[in-house]
Each structure stands twice: as C-alpha cells, then as structure tokens.
Assembly symmetry: C2
Homo-oligomer: 354 residues x 2
C-alpha cells in the first residue's frame, strides 16, 4: 500500500514525538511492505513566527493532498498573549473546521502495568477501556456571534449552535463505534437546561432503532463527570458535544495516570483524518529528550486502523507498546520508584525493536 | 436572634432530609437561645402536581419574606417527560434567577473518616478542603436565544451571555472567600476558545489588585477537570462560570465518596440565601429512611454562617457531624463493611445528641 502522510510537528515536544512516530511507521512499512511518504508542514506557534499565521495555506494544501495527517502539538507561553486570531490553537481549530473533522475519537485504555500510576484506585481503573467520541466542528467552539456586545461592549456572548445534520452524523458515528466494541453507547448532554441538548437527545432516540444490538442511555454531563470517577468501567463509548467532550476526555485521561499515553483521531466523512496525542506541547521539557512518545506512536496506530484500514499493522504497534511497558520501561512522566527512566528516543527504539 | 426560614422540601428524599435539618436547627436554637420560625412551601414536582407550576407564586412570596431558605431536592421520573416549562428543575432555576442568587458556594471537605470511601486514593483526597464558587444566574443557563431555528427548525442555538457586572460580582465573591480561607484563588475558563472567557480573565486581572494578599491563577476548564483528579489539594477557592461550575463541582464531589455529604449555599447581594444539598431527590430510596441527611444538615450550618453570621452555631453543627462520623455511624451510602448502617432519623438523632 502506498500512502502520503502529512506531518505537522507543531511546537514544543511536538517535533520530538513526531519523529518517534515517523521512525516507528518506517519499521512498520518495511515489515509489512508498504510505502509511506511523509510531507512536513508548519502549524501553531512556529507557523506564526515564520508566516504570521497559525495555519499557512501551504500547510492546508499539504494536508488536503495527503491520505492522513499526523500532528504533534501546538502552543507555548511565547504566543499566549497574542490576540485570538494569532494564537497557536487557532491553527488547530481552523484545520479541524477546514477539513470538516467532526468526529474526535479519544480512546482511554488503562494498561495494567500503568494502572498504579493513576490517582484513582487500582481496582477502579484497571481494565478501563472506553472511548469518548467528541463532536469537533460545532457547538460553542464555532457558533456565532462570539463577541462583545452592547453600547459600551460591556456584555459578551458565545453561541452554542448545531444543525440537526451535525448531530446526526456524530451520533451515528458513536453508534457505529459502539457496535464494533462492547455495544454500549452513553450519550451525554444537559437536556434539563439546554435546547441543543434536547435536540441531541431526540436525534439519539431517532438513530437508536437502526442499531438494535447496541444498548444506549442518556446521562447529564454533571452526572457523567461524576460517574467517570465513581465507576469508569461502566462505559464503553461516550458520545457528546464539543465542549463537554473536551472536559470529559481530559478528565478521563487521568485514569491512565499520564496524558502521555493517550492518542486521538479526528475524522471527516471522506477526507484525510488527523491523528494527534491528547497531550500538549509541554514547552517546559521540549528538546530535552524527556517527552513520552507513546501517545503519538499510538496515534499513528489509530491512523493505520481508521484511515488505511490496516488493523494488523495497528495491532502490531499496540502490542509493541504494551510489551515495552510490561518489560518495565518508562519515560519520566509514567515512572515509578522501581522502573528505569529512559528517554524519548530510547523509548522509540524499544518500541521499534518490539 | 429571631429568624424566619422558608423550608422547601421538594420531591423524593427532600422531605426527609428537610425534617432532619429542621430538627437539628431546633436543638441549636434552644441551646443558643435563638428563635427560628419555619414556613413551608412547595417547589418542583409536587408543586406541578398541586398547582400546575414548579414554582408557585405563593412559594416565591414565602421565600422573599424569609431571612433564608432551606431546599431539599427536586425532580423525579414522574415529571421527566414534561415540556421544559413544566419540569421540576425549572422551579429551581426560576427561584435562583428571581432571587438573583448569583453566587453558588460548594465546599468540598473530605472527612478523614470517610476518605477511604472515595474511588481516589486515600493520600490524594485526605485533607482536601476546597470551595467551588459557581456563577449561578447567567451563562448558558439563561442566555437567549435558546431555541430551534431555521425554516424547518432543523438547527438549534443556546447562548452563553454575561454582562461585565455579572462577572465582576462573582469574581469579587471568589476573592473575598479566598481571603478568609487559604488565600488562593483559581479562576477557571476556556479563554483559548470563548470570548466570554476572555472577558472573564480580564475581569479577574482587574479585580486581583484589590486583593494583594490572595494568590491567584487561571486554568482552562479541561485542565481543571484533570487537576481536580491529579492533585485536588492544590486548590483552595475555584471561581467559574455557571456550566463549568456545574460539571466541576459534581466531579469534585467524588472526592468525598458520596454526594450525600455535600452542602451548598446560593447567595444574592442582599436578599435571602438558599441552602441545599448537592445531591438530588433520589426517588429510588425516598420514604424508606435510607437517605443521608448530612448534606442537608451541613447546608443548614452554612445558612447559620453565611445568612445569620452565627459562626459558632455553624461550627457546633459541623463538629457534631464530624464526631458522629468519627464514632463510625454511617448511612448506607457511605457505609463500609465494618460500620453499623443507621437510618435517616437515627443519624439525625446522633447529630442532635452530639
Ligand atoms: C487547544 C484547544 C483549543 C483544544 C480544544 O479545546 O479542543 C484542546 O484542548 C483539545 O482538546 O484538543
Ligand atoms: C437540576 C439542574 C438544573 C441543576 C443545575 O444544573 O444547576 C443541578 O445539576 C445543580 O447543580 O444544582
């Protein structure tokens, strides 16, 4: 199989972890006889510095012409004071919107060898295997107006906007994913307060009959935030609105003890998918070889699976990661007192060898 | 001191826990020589059944004429299918708005004797003592439009609206509370996406110089959801927007192992305050004497402190609760294998005796 992959390292540790993923993918391509061509582009703070915009047209073109996109991370204190149009995150938000990447898949899998690293009790998190399906191109993130109002600009509005179609396609995706997993879908909303949530609930009820083998329920977002801590194993797939998904997926990431373990995929109806670690650019440790490359490596496994349909290759990466962890190797973020701490490249080499 | 207290038991276990609070307050009034007069009113589902509205005018009048309000809980499956205007929660939302109860104080205190009940590790939660200050009368909850739009009503909007004044008064309250606690304030927003959050951040920066002894920082809501689990002891006072506060406070409640322990206060600038447990009406156990009355009892302690300035009396209730827990008494929701499970009234008697 021949594929072109856009690589957007971004800022901070983005470059290091992107290199890790590329080198692991090279091993995979040799072993399984594929041809992956990598094309790099700038996004985020480094793009602002070079081109005066967080998402240069050139980058967008590279992405559009690729079969999939790998992204490291964007952001850093250097650009924190910038106006919103010139912030690194804006590049990511615009990319999501431009490519219509409406379905953000965030699996949370707790590796038994790491379960102790969580602040939650071992027996609560060990065995957790859930996926948050977050709507990514609508809701409060993109609704207009989003501005100061009133004569003296002394009031402000943001707008939570959805079309029924937007809700339908993400709910459909949630059901589809549940169907190939443990067949349980939890839809999260705030239907006792928001009209958009009431439409969301209606859509879930409309689509559910198409998936008679999937068990589903509705939960209010405040309750869901609680249940994720009380008993995370009750969940299989959670489908929810953009901002709720942002909050709940970061919360759920704590099951694993470290953000450094969590991959994500952002999919559109038919264009290239975007794969990125859930963690940020961690400017404080950038360039020191301390970054955990596993989230990025696992993101590239998701790419193989969801964009290229290469499930066997994806599993090969996932079991390599599992093995390396079982052997006790740790980057500093997931280290405990009795494990040898290794660097970003050492970890990458271990995964490649495995 | 002579005070009139409105009591709105509401639905489900509301009636039981409201009785508990009243009887504890009677002990306090005798012991400290106060006169508390209780006036009951209907709210929520029972009010819908009786008057066809979740907040009858009569109830609102009783509340307005009182010095403080105690509320049990509202809601139940019986009214879940109702249109939004005829839902029990609507009564609560209208009451908050009508009395301008903009500041919702949700303390999360982990009692050492209960710390084991949390799904978080003992050493992570033991000693947690934080307070979430949630804006309660603005934001997505009350912004207009909140409706179906488009020719075929196939789109929907909700509106996150704030005036600068609304943000100022809640941020001010957050700083004031931090000042009399451990002098640390965390403001939570989503300033990398929302314009309202950017105004929120500006207001925090403007008010901060008035409180030079309070250390403060800003956190994004997704990060805050994570940090609450990673290291809850880092927080003293958290001030945030209505919906963020709803989600984060329910999440934080899991530190204590049970919602049955958590009180709340909702305050206006000068009218009567509203005091209610964070838990819901728990229709499944209503009328069976299984409800944990401690959240309601602790809410009445907050009333003594915040509405009547009776700190000594409030502390007397709080230490009574602490003592009863130390002695090992538990209602079923907080029971472990080696504690005797007692009923709502037994627990109330224990607290009264203590
Ligand atoms: C950087 C930020 C805009 C982004 C979001 O809120 O979507 C991030 O938190 C994420 O979850 O990918
Ligand atoms: C019942 C509901 C409307 C309410 C809210 O969301 O404010 C509740 O969850 C709360 O936190 O008091």
């Amino acid at each position: 199989m021949k594929k072109q992959i856009a690589v957007l390292p971004g800022d901070g540790i983005g470059a290091e972890v992107a290199e890790s993923a590329i080198s692991v993918l090279k091993v995979v391509s040799e072993k399984f006889g594929h041809e992956f061509e990598f094309k790099k582009g700038l996004i985020g703070g480094c793009a602002i510095d070079e081109y005066g915009t967080p998402l240069p047209d050139e980058t967008l073109t590279i992405c559009r012409e690729s079969d999939a996109i790998l992204l490291g991370a964007v952001g850093g204190p250097k650009w924190d004071g910038n106006p919103s149009e010139l912030r690194p995150e804006k590049g990511l938000l615009t990319l999501r919107k431009s490519l219509d990447l409406f379905a953000n898949l965030r699996p949370v899998t707790v590796f038994e060898s790491l379960a102790e690293a969580s602040t939650l009790k071992f027996e609560v998190v060990n065995g957790v295997d859930l996926m948050i399906v977050r709507e990514l191109t609508g809701g409060l993130y993109f609704g207009r107006p989003s501005e100061r109002i009133g004569e003296n600009k002394d009031a402000v509005v943001d707008t939570l906007h959805y079309t029924r179609k937007e809700i339908e396609r993400i709910v459909q995706k949630g059901f589809e994913l549940a169907q190939v997993r443990r067949k349980k879908l939890t839809s999260v909303d705030k239907a006792n307060v928001l009209e958009s949530s009431r439409m969301w609930r209606e859509v879930v009820e409309e689509i559910a009959p198409k998936f008679p083998d999937v068990e589903y329920d509705h939960r209010l977002v405040d309750d869901a935030a609680m249940q994720l801590i009380r008993n995370p194993k009750q969940f299989d797939v959670i489908v929810t609105e953009n901002l709720f998904g942002d909050i709940l997926s970061d919360e759920a990431s704590m099951m694993t003890g470290s953000l450094g373990m969590l991959p994500s995929a952002s999919l559109s109806a038919d264009g290239p998918g975007l794969y990125e670690p859930v963690h940020g650019s961690a400017p404080d440790i950038a360039g020191q070889g301390k970054a955990n490359p596993l989230a990025m490596i696992l993101s590239s496994a998701m790419m193989l699976k969801y964009s290229f349909n290469l499930s066997e290759e994806a599993s090969a990466i996932e079991s390599a990661v599992q093995n390396v962890l079982n052997e006790g190797y740790r980057t500093q973020d997931i280290a405990d007192s009795h494990s040898p701490v290794i660097s970003t490249t050492e970890m990458t080499e271990k995964v490649k060898a495995a």
